[in-house]
């Protein structure tokens, strides 16, 4: 039997030391991640600039539409590398993190991805994956581009038809409340398409990396609850019954 008397002040000191070490580690890691985010945003800026230039210049030949497969891969890639929100102790997930909705006065910025409800020529409505071009404050309308450039033009849509997509992934281990829960109604991007469909959550993710197990199962006769958007960062595997 051990008869050591552990003094509380020493324990406290030890804890403080460990905490300091962990904090230092966090700082360095965040710094690195910030750098990566910076690089990515620069790339994104370049892309948008190039796109804008491409749209407005008549002299250039029309841009070759991307092959579907390539697009899909890109989409998947960007979904996977949506930055993970890791809050400091005490911080809660911000809006547009996982299932956390945007604040009511949020305005999507140029280049942000949104789910847009567009009316097709036949008259039926569909939620498509789109990218914001601009926002008109006076008319409260967004100008969005279908991400799939194959022939679909630019849309001018009112705010109510636009749902901004999440900009952070929620960490299931630290912020489970920012995830959709089982049987919650969502709009989910159908795999290999650029359209959103109503779906029910089957299993929320429970690990951070590489095991996004959230499966969405088919649901029908569901009342409309459009305010819930599928968090794009979570991989969706459509399981057909």
């Amino acid at each position: 039997s051990i008869a050591v008397i552990e003094t509380n002040p020493r324990k406290l000191r030890a804890l403080m030391l460990l905490m300091e070490a962990a904090e230092r580690e966090c700082v360095i890691l965040r710094h690195a991640l910030d750098k990566i985010a910076e690089i990515k945003s620069l790339l994104e800026e370049r892309r948008i600039a190039a796109k804008m230039a491409g749209v407005y210049s008549d002299s250039d030949p029309p841009r070759k539409t991307m092959r579907r497969g390539v697009l899909m891969t890109l989409l998947q890639q960007s979904a996977m590398t949506l930055p993970l929100w890791i809050g400091k102790p005490g911080e809660s997930p911000p809006p547009l993190c996982g299932a956390t909705p945007a604040s009511s006065d949020y305005v999507a910025k140029q280049g942000d991805k949104v789910a847009a409800r567009v009316k097709s020529v036949e008259g039926d409505e569909q939620w498509i994956l789109a990218e914001v071009v601009s926002y008109n404050h006076s008319t409260n309308k967004y100008e969005v581009d279908d991400i799939d450039e194959e022939g679909k033009e630019r849309h001018m849509l009112s705010r109510r038809r636009i749902i901004p997509l999440p900009q952070w992934k929620a960490n299931p281990e630290t912020d489970p409340e920012a995830l959709f829960s089982k049987d919650q109604l969502v709009l989910a991007l159908y795999p290999q398409t650029t359209c959103f469909y109503r779906a029910l959550i089957h299993t929320p993710p429970h690990r951070v990396r590489f095991y996004f197990d959230r499966r969405v199962c088919d649901g029908s006769n569901i009342p409309q609850s459009v305010n819930v958007a599928a968090p794009r960062g979570k991989k969706q595997t459509w399981r057909k019954r």
Binding site: I2, A3, V4, I5, E6, T7, N8, P9, R10, K11, L12, A14, L15, M16, L17, L18, M19, A21, A22, E23, E25, C26, L29, R30, A32, L33, I36, I39, K40, L43, Q77, M80, T81, P83, L84, I86, G87, K88, P89, N171, P172, E173, T174, P176, E177, L179, T203, P204, P205, H206, R207, V208, R209, F210
Partner: protein
């Protein structure tokens, strides 16, 4: 109280270090390169994911530690400074040496815990081998807050004065009052002995003789013997002379026994102040009177008072009983009223009877 209660409820976290090679291969690879090699853009995504993993586990570790720190601080505050100071004195080289290996263990990054289902990652189970860490808080008793004892002590000290008189005590008083039977012995005045001056003179003489004998032994001279004898003879004649001259007064006091008693009674009643040079012998010099030294009269008074008090106590007891009866009757009547029927004659009679009884007892008491 078990030791458990004395320790803050800390938990031991098993921070499994994240194995960089397995979980973060790109990261490890990149770290292995020199500065010149650089990082390709295509590697960014993978790196991002890996870094996120590391950050996530580090943050979790930080949160857990923060939690523990909070528990510890709260615990300390709860126990107060006393415990703090007491512990601070303990020399503790063992603890610091134990911290080092613990630190090394925790130095690696915390890893994913076993998938515990969505959203329940935080606390890990206690491991039995770490009991020493958890229960090594002070096993000595915490100095309890000094209980406020004063009221208890006060009531304890007052109790003998307020308690009911018991029969035993009455008996004691009775015995005290019993006129002592064999007082005749005490009345005899013993014969006068030798006057003290004579007695002391003789004793001194003997003392000198003894000393002289001792001195003689040391000196071993012949002269010692006849000298002491001479001295003794002288002293005796001296003493006899002094005796005849003296007219020693009686060793007792000049008053007779009756006068003595009278005087004592008068002194008792504070009429005459006690006189120092005429010692009044204590008549009732019984040792049962532990320092009481009372005269028969005062003893009788106490006895009478005690008897009266006992009677009163009895009456009070009866009052209490009749009180209860009155209360009973009252309750019965109230119950009857609740049930919305008038109280029966019987109940009314009972109530009146109880009341009357109580009143009579009270009258007796007051009288």
């Amino acid at each position: 109280m078990s030791e458990l209660k004395d320790c803050p409820p800390l938990k031991y976290y098993d921070f499994k270090p994240v194995e960089h090679v397995k979980v973060c291969p790109r990261y490890t690879a990149v770290l292995g390169r020199s500065e010149d090699d650089g990082i390709g853009i295509e590697e960014l995504d993978t790196l991002q994911l890996e870094l996120e993993t590391l950050l996530s586990s580090a943050t979790r570790r930080l949160r857990a530690l923060e939690e523990q720190r909070q528990i510890l601080t709260d615990w300390q505050d709860k126990k107060g400074d006393k415990r703090f100071l007491k512990l601070g004195k303990d020399p503790d080289p063992a603890a610091s040496s134990r911290h080092k290996p613990k630190k090394q263990k925790l130095d690696g990054k915390g890893g994913h815990g076993p998938g515990q289902g969505p959203g329940r990652p935080k606390t890990k189970n206690l491991q039995p081998k770490v009991q020493e860490y958890e229960f090594t808080d002070d096993p000595q008793d915490i100095p309890r807050n000094p209980k406020n004892d004063a009221p208890n002590r006060f009531w304890a000290s007052v109790e003998p004065y307020c308690a009911d008189i018991t029969n035993e005590e009455v008996r004691l008083l009775e015995e005290l009052l019993k006129p002592p039977e064999d007082e005749a012995d005490y009345f005899k005045i013993p014969a006068l002995g030798k006057h003290y001056s004579q007695r002391w003179a003789q004793e001194d003489l003997l003392e000198e003789q003894r000393e002289g004998a001792r001195a003689n032994d040391k000196k071993k001279s012949v002269m010692g013997g006849p000298l002491s004898e001479l001295d003794a003879k002288d002293v005796d004649s001296l003493l006899k002379k002094s005796e005849s001259q003296h007219e020693s007064p009686e060793d007792g006091c000049p008053f007779g026994p009756l006068t003595q008693r009278l005087l004592q009674a008068l002194v008792e009643e504070n009429i005459i102040s006690p006189m120092e040079d005429s010692p009044i012998p204590d008549i009732s010099g019984k040792d049962a009177n532990d320092g009481a030294g009372t005269s028969p009269r005062s003893q009788g008074k106490a006895f009478r008072l005690a008897k009266e008090e006992m009677r009163k106590q009895e009456l009070r007891q009866r009052v209490r009983v009749s009180d209860n009866e009155v209360m009973e009757a009252f309750r019965r009547i109230m119950a009857a009223r609740q049930k919305k029927r008038t109280p029966t004659k019987k109940e009314k009679d009972q109530a009146w009877k109880a009341l009357k009884e109580r009143e009579s007892i009270l009258k007796l008491l007051d009288g």
